[in-house]
Symmetry: D2
Subunit: 393 residues, 4 copies
């Protein structure tokens, strides 16, 4: 039984980390949905539990009985193979089940999964599902933070998610910016090694990369402010046509969460409203804005192959842990891509159209959840993620 | 000081009744907003408090300090004269202030208003504002019930607001239907007497009413079902053109909250999902549906003058306390109508376009809040109120 | 056979007048539709012909064969009793049938109706249908002008419909404005006499009218400009709530067709763009604007009963022939209103919701088509008709 | 002067071919716009003329005077560098200038360009602009056909653009389908040689292509019908998530222009409504449908690199001249892509987001306008182009 311990421990640790993210929040905070793209925290807590119940307990538990029969539909995100699903824009109307019931749901499923987890040492399929479920949980940990931030930002009281003080603006100066040159050539991208990866990172495959340069660090708030002040949002020549129309239609003049404050700017953060830190990487920009900025700076966005090819280079800073970095690559299957069989196969593949790949990891990404081959993806207009800019040329 | 007692008592009683309506609900239930037309219970609790704070404390309390400066905007419903207001469709995103804070807000304002209320015995203007505030509070008591019903109806779990059992379908048989004849002539409508009324019920004025007949009771669910089963929703000849388009665009085939259940029908109620009571008055129909039904039945809707003229007739049943009754009268100012000066004048007058008058009172109307001259009003497509049909010809 | 002559003559005269309106237009001009509310001229020409074909030839002509079987659907405006209809917003896509074919359609139907018209002298039902068809045709004559004006106004070239010069601004000074007092009382409105009227003008009925005053002339462009310049479009206190939202959402700051031109204003007219004539009646305002203006001027809009009651008063100027005058009365059936049997009954009755009555007649109304009991009606936001303001108080 | 002849001849020949496309159409046909994505024929005729006037005459003609000063805005499609532009959805409202005036515009510009064209023999920049203008004109020749087809398809009369009979269904049997294998490897794509290409085909660059197979011919209507009949439009498992939602929202159950006809299907064509030709390539499908079909068939769409790499293979049929072929490649700049300086640089680059590349050429593509490196592009939901499917695996 020794083998089982690491699985259970790992499982309970990840699950506990999720609950911890909800700790600073009231039940009311956990129930609201600020836009169709975002979900209530309570829904995240329940959906990640649903994932273990549906894909593990239902298969492995003898005499399986669902915790609540209606939850199969209520907390199904997008798996048509599992059946019906509650309409996404109405997740915020589910005042029942209560937070207390969802906590009970989590506790029940945790106990039952823990009872099975020991078997994972000798059952590779179970081990794979457990691992997937935990990686999935970690993805939702990041979404909890981005969705809570978006919700609190809609509130004129500008409440802080975290009470402790944020870093002082400028306390951490921006690293010096340099251009790092790469020879490229015929190289390989895609996951390699024994560790976990999502299906969309496979198969590892050859790709030809022309010589290129990558900025050694991310674009800062200060640099982005110069773009704004030089009229960047008013010059259609800098923008993709669709991006220009998008910005006009929505009256966009700065990154999401920026607000003019007297002579300067402030920005809404998880610590509440804060003076803009000019030295920190710019975040909460869309692909359209990232592309326009790059154009203005005489550069361009990297492709995902360039980014991954360069990811191991020591000279590059802020690759992981600051913000996701838009690439110019649309989200598409790698040559030879094969999604898993059954409903689990809907995890990634069916989203491979009209989205763009982001690389790296953000300050909201759980430790251990990032790697060079990781492919995050969002539509070109998405801004509520921690998304920033690294230039290429 | 004897005089003060009835004011304080009355004030505290109405205010307590509002809180009681929230008793069966969790904080989560109280925060959600199911559509822009409806408001969260928490918002109702805060807005009614804001009304007393803004229109009474601010004028009468020495050294007035607002409970919270941001509340002036957050809980302003539509009074431009008071200043900015939080966007209506975003009321459900105000997870802060919390329910606890809103309860504290109520308690604080209640204490301060109580301290002033004694003066109302000798200050007619204060007495009038206190009365208006309490009538306003009672209107929101009804809205709390209709809005909660709408919210819970969106939940696939179909939760009941009230645990106690509903009346058995058919337990109360429908009264016999008869046509009551009225000679009409030159008569008067509008409020009369010393009691309270809203400004839109004044001035009492002459109106000529041609001879007419009114149904002695409301249209029942059973009768409305016959309309459905005879194809009423599929025959454009029965409908106002706008009503026909409205029904087609929204796929409407029955009153709001009706659901097919096996061979029959059930209906979502404050007691949860219940078999349809064929003897009970039909409710949750729009003006369009009411008009089409009347057309089908060879009748028409009454005008508000007819309704009010007949309201004192003893032969008429179900005039008050079952459901609001659509009239064919658009909501318009009475001849000589004068709204109050200042922001309070926005209470009624500015809504007098593209709405229709409903008369009577519903099961959700607080006791003592109904009278023959009362003018309720909603757009022709509104269905979430307890709105029904009394025929005329 | 002597009797027949006036019918044929009258018929051909009205029909010819319609074609004359299309004379200044190219086939291209006649085919375009500038918004769903407006129709192409070609469609008007065909639909009025369809009216005679469907409601007269089909009933009275032996061995009736339709001119083209598809026209029954293509040129049906809104008569569900006749069957399917082409979607209104797509009328501008009907490049076939061509204008030439539609002219041929008119000629064919004209010949066939002329052959029948002689019978109208002895067949009252036929006479009534012929009369209705011609009144209908005249209504569309006015719509042709308002719809062409709207179409040409969308064109940056600002083309003139009429080549001849417009009246010089100020050439006709505004009459002196006075308030005319009316005692009101129990009076009658609705059509009376032997002449033609639409079903919505009947039955004539008693109505009680309180004493009132009516402005002796219409509000002028100059007076309306003063409202604009005093900030009328920026003061929510003057507006119906729905009107305020309407104006904000659409960025409305002046009547339709007004444009700032240097220091002053110009206005797009059937003669092209012209300097604003300050002495002429303001037109192309919505009910919302008319109501806000009246509020600003310390007055109100008349009810339709007031207007009709006063219509025979010689002291009142500009009652007919300048512009339609918004009333505060919603469009509703008169007591005892009975629409005609069959599809013809859809002519008026089914539109009696969420529209407001306009009285009078405009410069685009054909001679002989106006009378005191005439009820025109449009939604509160409509502006492309020649709609203006007469004040009451 | 001998040198000049070929330029003038070529110019006049292409320009005449455009006018010939309008020959079967009335002025009314030429003015209508069936949706914002499509343009009136008259607009195409004027815009292509505007292109020569703006980019050639304005630079090269001494004492240049525009044909009409307003045309600069009216017929600017999307060049922000040139200035304002008339809103795209309102192109169908431009009944002025008339077709006659637009023909005069064409004649005038043709004469003036012809007078300059001789210089192109010795002026490489002028030669390049002339060539670009003619290629641009040819692109609009194809759009004229797709836009006219879409317009006529909206007409219940289903008018034929071409009077002559269409090919008999099945008259041309489908070629045998085979899978052609390609070894791939490090290869080059992008335009090569001296001939004309658009900037988006450059620079030619290395790309690594894994081994793949390509279908020897296009998917036929008959094969696509089997997909429909097997429930392809009702199985979410076959679809990209966005494609599934797109199809549901629009009620899509077959390619554009297909209609059920008795037991079988017909299809609206430029020859009017015709029985579906089961042997012909399926066209008028979106990327979503193409991808779902490929999924159903156990295959996938080719990448644009695969397609171009294979394009010279003699075993492949129907590569050009039947229909454009969706690829799985999003439209993105080639490595090292540089748009032209000035407004001309807006031709292609700014559209490189959220569009997908189509390769090949259609029956509507003018002769001489196709080549292996040609990159056509449309959004994933576009269906009114002649777009079909070639499978890969």
């Amino acid at each position: 039984m020794r083998d089982a311990c690491p699985w259970i421990e790992r499982y309970l640790q990840v699950r506990a980390a999720t609950l911890e993210l909800a700790a600073p929040l009231s039940d009311e905070d956990c129930g609201a949905q600020s836009m169709p793209d975002a979900s209530p925290v309570k829904w995240h807590l329940a959906h990640t539990t649903w994932f273990f119940e549906t894909f593990i307990l239902e298969r492995y538990e003898e005499g399986f009985q669902p915790f609540h029969p209606a939850f199969r539909v209520l907390f199904n995100s997008y798996y048509n193979g599992v059946g019906d699903k509650h309409p996404r824009p109405q997740r915020g109307l589910l005042t029942r089940p209560s937070m207390a019931q969802v906590r009970a749901y989590r506790a029940d499923v945790d106990a039952r999964v823990s009872a099975l987890a020991a078997r994972a040492g000798s059952d590779a399929a179970l081990a794979a599902l457990l691992t997937l479920g935990l990686q999935h949980e970690q993805q939702h940990q990041e979404l909890i933070l981005t969705d809570v931030k978006h919700l609190l930002a809609q509130n004129p009281l500008a409440p802080a998610y975290l009470a402790q003080p944020a870093a002082q603006p400028g306390a951490v100066p921006a690293p010096v910016q340099a251009w790092q040159r790469f020879a490229g050539g015929l190289c390989e991208i895609g996951h390699t090694g024994d560790g976990f990866c999502f299906d969309n990172e496979l198969p590892r495959h050859k790709v030809y990369v022309a010589p290129f340069e990558l900025a050694s660090r991310l674009v800062t708030n200060g640099e982005y402010l110069a773009f704004i002040e030089s009229g960047g949002y008013r010059d259609p020549g800098l923008w993709l046509a669709e991006g220009w129309d998008w910005g006009r239609a929505q009256g966009i003049e700065a990154p999401l969460y920026w607000q003019r404050a007297g002579q300067g700017w402030s920005s809404f953060t998880l610590h509440g409203c804060q003076p803009l830190d000019l030295a920190a990487p710019v975040t909460h920009v869309s692909l359209y804005e990232a592309d326009a900025y790059a154009h203005w700076a005489g550069a361009r966005l990297p492709t995902e192959a360039e980014w991954e090819h360069a990811a191991s280079d020591r000279r590059l800073q802020q690759m992981f842990g600051h913000c996701w970095q838009w690439t110019g690559s649309s989200y598409a299957p790698y040559p030879g891509f094969r999604p898993a069989a059954g409903a689990i196969g809907e995890y990634n593949g069916k989203f491979m159209v009209n989205q763009y790949v982001l690389r790296g990891a953000s300050l909201a990404t759980p430790p251990g959840h990032s790697r060079p081959s990781y492919r995050n993806f969002f539509p070109a207009g998405a801004r509520w993620q921690f998304s920033g800019i690294r230039l290429a040329r």
